[in-house]
């Protein structure tokens, strides 16, 4: 194992880790916006899947990758709005609502993949370009990891900062946190709890949708059924492990992505059965979630629907 690790090119491993962390971080950022306002979002998986599909289909139709990215975010917002309507207005259990979204996403992407993509397309829309930051990309080690990347990875790095600032320094963030901790208290000072929750849930859809676009438009330039492979749930674990903070979610995502990248690289080198390497991120998630639980404090009102008297 150690020997295998040493034989890997560390820069390459770092780069691959950052790439694999991109969708995880984006979805985790979405998840924490949502949960900070008091709504559990286990729909991240379905939102990412929808984003991946719609982004790909739109890019295919318009021959424009950027429109594809935009479409992915809009689709994410649309399906997140359904989660919001069900769990906030119709008081459906938030876990049930999230599960519905996940099943629905499999259905919708499956049905339309078959009619619109599998049957018709021959040539894909390609993948997003790579941007270098001049000079900085020549830095040894870090340069090749952080200063050459594709659009969505750049966006992810920027959004970590944006979400942090919004959440902890703006009026919106203050109100969001108030709704997630004690919605009745927020209501008594005249804050519209429903509005705050709706906006945050829908924003989480945009973030997770962008994360979904990573798969189809940045990583492989194609869509396959179930392309997200449980990453939405791992992102949720990253959010918990990162204690509902953007920086924490990013670091936790790097951890999971690292396990993924190591697993993917090692299998060529050693006779460890590849299935065990494939298990690595999932087992790691279980260990981390179980271990983090005692210490991390979730927003107090998360998971509870708010009902005005």
């Amino acid at each position: 194992m150690i020997a295998a690790l040493q034989s890997l090119h560390l820069t390459e491993l770092g780069y691959l880790t950052l790439l694999a962390a991109t969708p995880l971080t984006l979805a985790a950022l979405g998840g924490l916006m949502c949960e900070r306002s008091g709504v559990v979002n286990i729909a991240l998986e379905g939102i990412m899947l929808t984003g991946a599909f719609v982004g790909y289909a739109a890019a295919l139709a318009t021959h424009n990758l950027w429109l594809g990215v935009l479409a992915a975010m809009l689709a994410g917002m649309a399906i997140a709005a359904l989660h919001a309507a069900l769990s906030i207005s119709l008081l459906v259990d938030q876990i049930v609502s999230g599960t519905v979204i996940n099943i629905l996403a499999v259905g919708i992407t499956g049905v339309y993949y078959r009619t619109y993509i599998q049957e018709t397309s021959t040539v894909g829309p390609g993948i997003l370009p790579t941007w270098h930051i001049p000079l900085l990309d020549r830095l040894p080690f870090l340069g090749q990891i952080f200063f050459q990347g594709q659009a969505i990875t750049w966006a992810m790095l920027l959004l970590i900062v944006v979400v942090h600032v919004v959440l902890f320094h703006t009026v919106w963030g203050l109100r969001t946190r108030a709704c997630g901790e004690h919605p009745l208290a927020a209501d008594t000072v005249g804050i519209n709890v429903y509005l705050v929750r709706y906006v945050n849930v829908i924003a989480s859809g945009a973030l997770a949708g962008l994360g979904g676009a990573y798969f189809s438009l940045q990583e492989i330039g194609n869509f396959l059924p179930n392309i997200t492979g449980g990453r939405g749930f791992i992102a949720l674990a990253a959010m918990i492990f990162g204690r509902w903070t953007p920086a924490g979610a990013f670091l936790a995502s790097l951890l999971f992505a690292g396990a993924d990248a190591v697993g993917a690289r090692i299998q060529g080198f050693h006779n460890i059965p590849y299935q065990f390497l494939g298990m690595l991120p999932y087992v790691l998630t279980i260990v981390v979630v179980a271990g983090a639980m005692g210490r991390s404090i979730a927003p107090a009102a998360v998971g509870r629907p708010y009902k005005k008297q």
């Binding site: 119709l90 629905l104 078959r114 449980g230 998630t285 179980a290």
Partner: protein, 367 residues
Amino acid sequence: MTWRRLFRPAAVALAAQPILSIVCGFAVAGLAVLASGADPVQAFSALFQGAFTNPRAFTETMIATLPYIFLGLAVALGFKAGLFNIGAEGQFYLGAVFGVFIGYSVQGLPGIVHVPLALLAGMLGGFLWAAIPGIIKARTGAHEVIITIMLNYVAFQLTDFLINNRGPLADKTSSAPRTPFIQHAAQLPILIPGTRLHAGLFVALVAIPVVWFLLSRTTVGFQIRTVGLNPSAARAAGISVGWTLVITMGISGALAGLAGADEVLGVSHFMPPSFSTGYGFDSIAVALLAKSNPWAILPAAFLFGAMRNGATFMQLQTQVSADLISIVQATVIIFIAAPAIIRWIFRLRHTPAAPVQLAKTDGGATI
């Protein structure tokens, strides 16, 4: 339950909502088909044809119904304790692995012993696999949803390892990756010659009253329901919440494992590396549709069995993806979980019914 009671107005009102939800679910799915450019009437008639129109199709529907009965009961039992067991799929795999192993490796037993033994082995496999998230939840408070989903992926990889590429359970003589065939004595007997309908039907039909009895007539069931309704009060009354969660997950997993064992002993007689395509996930919808009532699992499972069986035929006939049934499922759950929508569409009077409600976890939800 007598017929008279079944047809009381209250009972009819109770059944009305699920039925209307199913109708609406199909309507939405029909719109989705329309939007994909296909003909919904054609699609749904193919679905119906594939599910019912000849004896063979009907028995295949029955066969597809069986796993849904076990798995629906498994998920419903979890709901009663406030647990969301999304891991039924993985537990199904483990049950199948244990069942198939006992089925092919043990030799010389009469069928009357071998079949129950293999089924019990399947239950044990599911029990052990499901006890893991139960123990983790009881000890750390980590939400079972994440843990069970992650364990599904681990279970897929694990079975792949066991069966694929000369794994420990692989049939070395076969070129295809699979386990050896089970002993003849371990096969669940065929009920109707010429079809694949097997004696697992009786196992499923027994499982329903057993689960009902467990929940409503035993101390264990009372404990499960009490923990599901109010874990704090349960704890204050001296009920061990942790133990209850573990045992509930375990029994739930045992039912899921039974489904897996039943499938290998009754239908396939061996196990390929990937073999259940989403039974476990669908069963969440089965349990929700039945509102976790063990008796109502039967019609709900039958509906899903018919859809699954019909969908394959529909995809062949009309090119509409079998994933369409996921849309039906999702929309049915929406209408079940948000009865306000159904009441609004059909202008029904408000009858206060218990909404679908999950864990009232201590100290707030943890995801």
